[in-house]
């Protein structure tokens, strides 16, 4: 747990998996899918597309009709389902907490089944409640009905993590909570994952959620057909086909705001003025910086208001000219959140704060808009996409000595993937390069995205 | 069995009719009383609570004990039978009437008052129709339950099919005693099903299509 770089997750491989009910069209048809260890893979798609079925086949709550499932090199298709499920975390909507058991008992369920001793279970329970930001002293002995929806969901996540399973399956876990709570739970999951590096398979119907949380996104169509498998950046920048385009909907650029963090764009630096300092000196600093306005900071360097040169000329020591305050966003907030904050405050700019609320700079609506324009043309890093298709071709899995599985793709699949990548690049190179050059030649002193925003790195830096 | 039935066909029909009419009439009487009590109680938590408790306690008292208690003041015959059957009919209906009336959306009542309906008109034209399906459900429970109570009331010489059961019992082993009891039991089941069917039909006819489930 303390070693934050250690990947504790396991690779999951679905091999040519089919689930059919009777004579009807199969719910999932000949699906082959690789889920890389320690990554968060989001399953999205319209309802009835087989994403949930696929998820439940991983822990065999639904038994596949044919095909096999391999976790960490071990074929789990034939092993005892109950034993398998004890090794896989499972989170459902509203947590699925057992109402007749206390929060502590709920979290300790799996360890108890694994026959841990009482003291160890108690320690583990407290540790996990702490991890999901619930004070064990307060919540351990409460019953689920005494908790809010968001808290119940947190306990659900804690319960799934109890036996430290390498894999976490999440079935629309945040579907039943209000948007604000959902945003907080999502951020918490990002933090937990940054610490634990589990393999997370997460089903959602909300594409924005997929963009926000996923290292990878699988877009499913009816019958468990994979329409596209890629990073959020790849999918947003280069939707594979019309279906994906429709599913993403309009405003792909806007959705990319959910990918970019405030710290990734260039902030403007306004002169700062401390409360209570000599007003004339402060006014001088503004003049030197050719700035009309400055940011007022309190004794802890937290931004508390704006102040203009004209205001400063009228006072001897710096006081706050008004009580309006200043909209602030944290530097690890998404651009989406930043834009939201500014719109809500009715302001075209917001102060950016770092650790302990210290002032870092100023972000403006313009910065965000430039970022949107830039983002849609952002070069997508050529990362090798894990296997995912419905052709029925099975990659030959070979387990190396270190337990890592490598796959040799069937030849035509390799070709398809190459085609896809090159076509994407070709498309990019025609009209977009021009715009990219225009954009990158803009004066960096203005409110623009920095020279090397390198946004695709953000996926792995979410800490 | 066949000759037993054909010999006493008229007797059976008349006893069945008596049984049916005893329960049906008591049911109507009980419904009126229950709605009146519920109308008096439903807006007051304490009164509703008391009515509910009385109803629960009443349902716990064995019917045979109540019949016994009624003999002293009322003697034998129709009077104790009607009293006891009405009493047991009353309890489920009362409880359901309270649930139904208090379940009516208060904003609807206010809307009715707002368009100038009097308190009484509001009760009969808004609250009662909305609570009616629940009350009717209570009536069905009452009807089924009191079919058996009515049979026991034959012990105090009340009317109906219970007499076939008790006469068979008193002549146990004698000619046709078994047939007599079976006839009584089966006929009660049959008219219970008929009355339940009629109540369902009544529900279809009297429940506004807007609130039918």
């Amino acid at each position: 747990m303390s070693n934050s770089s250690k990947i504790t997750g396991a690779t999951i491989l679905l091999e040519n998996v089919t689930k059919s009910y009777g004579s009807k069209k199969p719910a999932v048809n000949q699906l082959t899918l690789e889920i890389p260890a320690g990554q968060t893979v989001m399953f999205v798609g319209p309802s009835g597309c087989g994403k949930t079925t696929t998820l439940k086949m991983i822990n065999r709550l639904i038994e596949p009709t044919s095909g096999r499932i391999v976790i960490n090199g071990e074929d789990v298709t034939k092993m005892n389902g109950d034993d398998l499920r004890r090794r896989i975390g499972y989170v459902i909507q509203a947590g699925g907490l057992l109402p007749h058991l206390t929060v502590g008992a709920n979290v300790g369920l799996v360890p108890k089944m694994l026959k841990w001793d009482k003291e160890r279970i108690r320690q583990r329970t407290d540790e996990l409640l702490d991890l999901v930001s619930l004070d064990p002293e307060i919540y351990r002995d409460r019953y689920p009905k005494q908790l809010s929806g968001g808290q119940q969901q947190r306990v659900g996540v804690a319960r799934a993590l109890a036996a430290d399973p390498p894999v976490l399956l999440m079935d629309e876990p945040f579907g039943a909570v209000d948007p604000i709570t959902r945003q907080r739970l999502q951020e918490e999951l990002i933090h937990v994952q940054a610490e634990l590096h589990k393999t997370i398979v997460f089903v959602t119907h909300d594409f924005d959620e997929a963009v926000k949380l996923g290292d990878w996104i699988v877009i499913f169509n009816e019958g468990g057909k994979i329409e596209q498998y890629g990073t959020p950046e790849q999918i947003l920048a280069h939707p594979a086909n019309e279906f994906v385009e429709d599913f993403i909907g309009s405003g792909a650029g806007l959705k990319q705001l959910g990918l970019a963090r405030v710290r990734d764009v260039r902030m403007r630096q306004l002169p700062t003025v401390d409360l209570g300092e000599d007003a004339a000196a402060a006014a001088n600093r503004l003049t030197e910086a050719h700035a009309i306005r400055g940011v007022v900071l309190d004794q802890h360097d937290r931004p508390v208001g704006w102040i203009s040169r004209r205001h400063l000329e009228k006072m001897s020591t710096v006081v706050l000219p008004d009580e309006k305050g200043v909209p602030t966003v944290g530097e690890s907030s998404t651009l989406d959140d930043a834009l939201d904050t500014m719109l809500v405050a009715g302001s075209s700019e917001a102060a950016v704060t770092g650790a302990r609320g210290r002032y870092r700079g100023v972000i403006t609506v313009n910065t965000v808009i430039r970022a949107i324009e830039g983002l849609s043309h952002e070069a997508v890093e050529e990362v090798s996409v894990p296997v995912g298709h419905n052709t029925g071709a099975i990659p030959v899995a070979t387990t190396a000595e270190n337990g890592v599985i490598t796959y040799e793709m069937a030849e035509d699949d390799q070709q398809k993937e190459d085609e896809w990548l090159t076509s994407a690049n070709r498309e990019w190179s025609e009209t977009d390069r021009q715009k990219w050059e225009n954009y990158s030649s803009l004066d960096p002193a203005e409110d623009v995205v920095g020279e090397d925003p390198n946004l695709k790195g953000s996926g792995s830096e979410r800490a | 069995m066949g000759s037993y039935l054909s010999d006493r066909w008229e007797q059976i029909l008349s006893a069945s009719w008596q049984h049916f009419s005893l329960v049906a009439q008591c049911l109507i009487l009980a419904t009126v009383i229950a709605i009146a009590i519920a109308a008096f109680c439903y807006q007051n938590k304490t009164l509703s609570g008391i009515a509910n408790s009385v109803s629960a306690v009443g349902l716990t008292i064995p019917s045979f004990a109540l019949i016994g208690l009624m003999i002293a003041p009322l003697g034998f015959g129709v009077a104790p039978a009607v009293t006891v059957v009405t009493f047991y009919c009353l309890l489920p209906i009362l409880r359901n009437a309270l649930v139904g009336l208090s379940g009516v959306d208060r904003s609807l009542v206010e809307a009715a008052r707002g368009i100038g309906m009097s308190r009484v008109a509001t009760f009969f034209r808004v609250e009662l129709p909305l609570a009616w399906p629940v009350i009717l459900a209570g009536m069905r429970v009452s009807a089924q339950m009191t079919m058996g109570v009515a049979a026991v009331s034959a012990y105090v010489l009340g009317p109906g099919l219970g007499s076939f059961i008790f006469s068979g019992l008193s002549r146990l082993g004698g000619a046709n005693s078994f047939e007599s009891v079976v006839t009584g039991v089966v006929a009660v089941v049959v008219i219970a099903l008929i009355l339940d069917g009629l109540l369902v039909l009544l529900g279809r006819l009297t429940t506004s299509r807007g609130i039918r489930v």
């Binding site: 057992l98 089944m113 009905k145 | 359901n96 069905r140 026991v152 059961i165």
Partner: protein
């Protein structure tokens, strides 16, 4: 008919607040006290004294209790397992048929059934008990099934997802969550049993009903009233015990 019985069940199962649980036994104790006082103070005739002899009354009460308790036990050990079985997947198909038959059976008058069983098994306690078991079977069976069916399917899946076996899920999740509904059915059954046990007297099955028939047959109004009251108080005591059990056995988180 199926709706009827479930509502009947619902009718008898209004939850009990702790206040009601305290008031009920106090009121019953007062009534019982008055009855005992009357028994010793009243100027009874010779026949009345014989029928209302405390030792004799105690014997009848024990008989009544035995009738109720033994048949309740039989109902529990048959109806609950059957209810569990009928809610398991392979048997769901036949459960509808079962319920329909049971519901029609429930419409039969108990006084008639008890006599029919006496024809078959002869007079006496065994026939009475068999009738009582048959009669109280339905509420327990029905509430077991309703209670188990009402358990949120997603909870069961969550439990399965954690790696609980089907049996563990039944034991740790389904049954605890179904307990309140099942207990309500058991209480309904107990109330039915206590009441129906008074009819056992018609087939020489014993119990407190004997006081009522004796009162009627010998035209002893005081015995009749005393007996009826005693039966009523006894029924309410059983009901109270069932309520207390219900109150205590319901899992706290529900």
């Amino acid at each position: 008919m199926s709706a009827t019985t479930s509502e009947k069940t619902a009718d008898l199962t209004a939850g009990s607040s702790w206040k009601a649980l305290v008031i009920q036994p106090i009121a019953l104790a007062v009534i019982l006290g008055l009855m005992v006082w009357w028994l010793f103070a009243a100027d009874l005739t010779e026949t009345e004294r014989i029928t209302l002899d405390p030792g004799y009354l105690w014997g009848l009460t024990l008989q009544h209790l035995k009738l109720t308790a033994v048949s309740a036990l039989f109902v529990l050990i048959t109806a609950i397992p059957l209810g569990i079985l009928l809610t398991r997947r392979p048997f769901r198909g036949v459960s509808g048929l079962f319920m329909a038959l049971a519901n029609i059976g429930q419409a039969a008058p108990i006084v008639g059934l008890i006599v029919l069983f006496a024809f078959w098994m002869g007079f006496g306690t065994p026939a009475a008990m068999v009738t009582l078991v048959a009669y109280a079977f339905l509420p327990v069976l029905k509430n077991t099934m309703v209670g188990l069916d009402a358990v949120d399917a997603r909870l069961i899946e969550a439990a399965r997802g954690m790696g609980m076996s089907a049996l563990t899920v039944l034991w740790k999740v389904e049954l605890p969550l179904a307990v309140p509904v099942m207990l309500a059915g058991i209480r309904t059954a107990l109330v039915l049993l206590v009441g129906s046990a008074t009819l056992a007297t018609f087939i020489d099955g014993g119990g407190l009903g004997l006081l009522i028939t004796t009162g009627v047959n010998l035209a002893l109004d005081r015995v009749l009233i005393f007996g009826s009251l005693l039966v009523a108080v006894f029924a309410l005591i059983i009901d109270w015990i069932a309520r207390v059990v219900e109150y205590l056995a319901t899992p706290k988180g529900l």
